[in-house]
């Protein structure tokens, strides 16, 4: 047991970041620093209407008055917001009609990621909206989708072509002044995805988008807005990988989901930003605000696999406003070396008969710190609210930490709330049991880690589960299996 754990730890430490490559595409980068002129310049570059520019400037004004939050259980050197370039776009901004026209170097990048576009197109039937350094480069399957009336495009396109929807919903779930990073994002967001599913439409395929941070010294500020109109359904996938960089890169995204009456949104994330090297140098700062609003009978389900980033600060939340609405949160967070993660969810029960489920699995190895921070709030009018939370942590090695900070606030007597959390290492009896049955210790550890996270992995869409498992392997399992 001790032997393999040692070995496992060693392997984990020496495991290099496999996706750390740099695509040499000439980018169009704004000078570093942030002021009103930069915001106006971003807005101009993106050919945005005036109301958008005004909205950005308003957010900037809020941001100036805010201070960085420091309540999270993470330690880091605060980024210098004046030392970041707020815009970086691949230079030759092509509009492709087919995949063949795409820069072969770019396609190569995606091949290295293991998601070649054509493969996905053929095998998985996934439409991919690829965001590379903030600007949407290729959107596939747009035609199939538009036949159903589904709008799936980059947010900058949506601002130009569907201003009424953007105006109505942007900032409705995450207001500009919600928090420090949300305000920053509202001011400088470079691009992101926009998705609208019309009434009663069931989106025929998984929608997917890939983010990467490519240019050194650029922050990534993408903004995602998903609107599911009454009775519609969409499953949305988001994946993130970033190449190897030595200085810390800032990533402050905002994701807003709106599920109108009877709608359902399933939002899955695999996040594998560069976590820094084994000395804890470099890595991405991931400060993300994700929130969904559920109207009557609506359902929002967040699934996330977090394996990357030097620092993760992320709380995908559900506001269960409508009666009978459902919120779900399934998460695996893996931290290794010097990674720090403070992640969890918020379930705000406002409507009657609302239900929420939280399953969070944390795995910490190396010298990492992994925290779960969650809030379950039942307001006085939320009759018969129901919540079940489970937070399990697995510790590997004695230099890491696992922490749980659940907040439970209940103001209604008919609420039923259950919360349980456990922290343990892989039990020797479990290993022994496997050994007894002829399974070698290494395999047994892989088996147990896999079993530990299975509950969440099962919630991922098929195509994505493979990808997620691959990432888990890179972070942990590969070294023991």
């Amino acid at each position: 047991m001790a032997y393999t754990e040692e070995e496992l730890k060693k392997e984990l430490e020496t495991k290099e970041y496999e996706y750390g490559f740099y695509t040499d595409i000439t980018s169009d980068t704004l000078p570093i620093g942030l002021n009103e002129d930069v915001i106006i310049a971003i807005s101009k570059k993106k050919e945005e209407p005036d109301w958008m520019t005004a909205w950005r400037l308003e957010s900037y004004k809020y941001w100036l008055e805010m201070v960085e939050p420091n309540w999270a259980n993470i330690k880091y050197k605060k980024p210098d917001f004046q030392a970041i370039s707020y815009y970086s776009a691949p230079n030759s901004k092509p509009k492709y009609n087919s995949l063949d026209e795409v820069d072969p170097e770019l396609l190569d990048t995606f091949k290295k990621l293991g998601i070649s576009l054509d493969e996905q197109k053929k095998l998985a039937g996934v439409a991919v909206d690829i965001v590379m350094d903030s600007v949407s480069v290729a959107t596939t399957f747009k035609k199939t989708l538009s036949e159903k009336g589904i709008i799936f495009c980059s947010i900058s396109e949506a601002i130009k072509e569907h201003p009424e929807l953007v105006k109505k919903y942007m900032g409705s779930v995450v207001p500009q002044k919600d928090n420090f990073y949300a305000a920053l994002n509202s001011a400088v967001f470079s691009d992101g995805s926009f998705c609208y599913i019309p009434k009663g439409v069931r989106c025929p395929m998984e929608l997917s988008t890939y983010f990467r941070i490519n240019q050194a010294g650029t922050g990534q500020f993408e903004r995602t807005l998903v609107i599911a109109d009454e009775g519609s359904y969409v499953s949305y996938l988001e994946g993130c990988t970033a190449p190897s960089r030595d200085e810390n890169q800032l990533h402050a995204a905002v994701v807003e989901l709106v599920a109108l009456d009877h709608a359902e949104i399933k939002y899955s994330t695999v996040q594998n930003w560069y976590p820094g090297n084994k000395e804890g140098k470099g890595g991405v700062f991931n400060f993300v605000t994700k929130r969904g609003l559920c109207e009557k009978n609506a359902k929002i389900s967040w699934t996330q696999v977090e394996t990357g980033s030097a620092i993760t600060w992320k709380y995908p939340s559900c506001i269960l406003k409508g009666d009978n609405s459902i919120g779900e949160f399934y998460s695996i967070a893996v931290t290794n070396n010097f990674q720090q993660a403070d992640t969890g969810t918020k379930m705000i029960h406002l409507g009657k008969n609302t239900r929420s489920t939280i399953i969070s699995k944390g795995i910490s190895a190396g010298k990492s710190q992994n925290s779960y921070r969650g809030l379950v709030q039942v307001n006085s009018r939320a009759e018969n609210a129901r919540n079940f939370s489970q937070c399990d942590s697995l510790l590997m090695g004695n230099e890491c930490g696992a922490h749980t900070f659940p907040y439970i606030e209940v103001k209604n007597k008919s609420a039923q709330i259950e919360h349980e959390a456990t922290t343990s290492k892989i039990g020797e009896d479990q290993i022994f049991y496997c050994n007894q049955r002829g399974i070698p210790t290494e395999k047994a550890i892989a088996l147990i880690v896999n079993g530990f996270s299975k509950e969440v992995l099962n919630k991922l869409p098929m195509e994505f589960a493979v990808e997620a498992q691959k990432l888990l392997e890179i972070s942990l399992e590969g070294s023991v299996g």
């Binding site: 510790l395 922490h403 290492k425």
Partner: protein, 438 residues
């Protein structure tokens, strides 16, 4: 003048009354400086997120009661555990009452903090223990430290055990319209020593009383300490109880908190495990109504390997009451093989009651077994129906289920008479007579 300023200026008056050359006075001066810097905690602080002291700060508390008051035993007998013989350390409006007390120096020291702090024979012990485990940073604790003068002092030498349980009682007579009490207790159990303590604060009128109490408990190797806090005060009395416990190898410390009364009650219960094979138990039953507010803020800090901790807090909240449970378990890197368990179960029986629960784990060691559970719910409808279908009236049936709910905590009470007493208090609080005891 607000309460903070009043306290700071009262410190000067206080200084004219105590021996300024005594080493303890340096500790006091440091403490008042800290309080001056920090002031009363506000809701902005994470540990006070759900409890506000604003209301209390508006009251113009009397800090030094003018006269000594006497009470007749027959008038206050019911507040004592009179069914059995006990040692008693009794304070009336913060001043020791030798008439009601029963102290001893026979083999063990069960006496007063004021004598321990002034008599030379205690100087060595005070030097080793006083203010060693209590926080020097937390503002209310330092406020108490600054004004520390009176309270209970209990010293049990090696291999000794007092013949009977010790009761610490604080009466507020209401002779002052408002009163701020700051008792300071020091309890030391040397190797293999064992003792049982029951602490109670009782206000005899409906005048405003605020008690800011600090208790330091030191349990040496193999020592056993049983501590019971009975909180059933009148609705105009508030209590901030700060208890700090230092445990050495193989010691066993159990603290039971029964919170039924009072206006605002805040229990800061801190366990520090400075040895191996330690057992710490924290249990509580809270039953509230009206606008009562109870906040249990616990910390168990596992600093050495092979220790255990058990926490079990049950709460029943009615009317407009608010309950807070803020439990924290910290496991240091070297504290391998820790077995820590934390449980918080709550029942809301009114639409206007609120419960805020925050059970936290901070774990830095890998070979540990740590878990916590928290539930908020109602009485089981099926169980209620079962009882009622057998002719038990609704109210009694509900009470029966609540008894069962709280029983886990009650059954580890080791003084039978106290258990009976708590049973009666619960029955009173629930307004039923079940005609039996658990």
């Amino acid at each position: 003048m607000d309460l903070k300023e009043k306290l700071i200026s009262s410190f000067m008056a206080f200084e004219s009354d105590v021996d300024l050359d005594h080493p303890v006075h340096d500790i006091r001066s440091m403490a008042i400086k800290n309080f001056e810097r920090k002031g009363f905690p506000t809701k902005k602080e994470e540990a006070w997120k759900y409890t506000s002291l604003n209301g209390l700060q508006k009251i113009d508390f009397t800090i030094f009661p003018k006269e000594t008051n006497a009470l007749e035993y027959k008038d206050v007998k019911k507040y004592f555990l009179h069914e059995i013989d006990t040692y008693k350390i009794v304070f009336i409006d913060g001043i020791y009452s030798s008439y009601l007390s029963e102290t001893t120096h026979d083999g063990v020291d069960i006496c007063l903090m004021s004598s321990a702090l002034t008599k030379p024979m205690y100087e060595a012990i005070i030097d080793v223990y006083f203010n060693k485990i209590a926080s020097r940073d937390e503002s209310l604790t330092t406020l108490n430290t600054a004004f520390s003068r009176e309270g209970a002092y209990i010293y049990i030498p090696k291999n000794k055990m007092p013949k009977k349980p010790i009761e610490i009682l604080h009466f507020a007579t209401g002779n002052e319209a408002t009163l701020l009490l700051q008792p300071r207790n020091l309890i030391i159990a040397e190797e293999n020593a064992e003792l049982q303590v029951i602490e109670r604060h009782q206000s005899l009128t409906t005048n405003e009383v605020l008690t800011n109490s600090v208790t330091e408990i030191f349990a040496a190797k193999n020592a056993i300490v049983d501590y019971y806090k009975v909180q059933n005060n009148v609705g105009t009395a508030s209590l901030i109880d700060n208890t700090y416990i230092d445990q050495k190898d193989k010691s066993v410390v159990k603290v039971h908190t029964f919170s039924f009364g009072g206006n605002l009650t805040r229990n800061n219960l801190n366990f520090y495990q400075n040895g191996e094979y330690i057992d710490s138990t924290l249990k509580g039953v809270t039953i509230l109504g009206e606008k009562q507010h109870v906040d249990h803020c616990t910390l168990v800090h596992h600093k050495q390997p092979n220790c255990e901790s058990h926490q079990d807090y049950k709460g029943i909240y009615g009317e407009n009451s608010t309950g807070v449970f803020n439990g924290k378990i910290v496991v240091d890197k070297i504290a391998q093989k820790t077995d820590a368990f934390q449980q918080n179960n709550n029942i809301l029986i009114s639409d206007k009651a609120t419960i805020n629960s925050k059970p936290q784990l901070e774990i830095f060691a890998d070979d540990v077994k740590c878990s916590h559970g928290c539930t908020i719910g109602q009485l089981d409808e099926n169980a209620l129906f079962y009882l009622r279908s057998r002719g038990i009236p609704k109210k009694e049936a509900q009470a029966l289920l609540m008894y069962a709910f709280a029983n886990n905590v009650l059954e580890s009470v080791r003084i039978p008479e106290l258990k009976t007493r708590i049973n009666k208090l619960i029955a009173n609080k629930l307004g039923v007579n079940l005609g039996f005891n658990l």
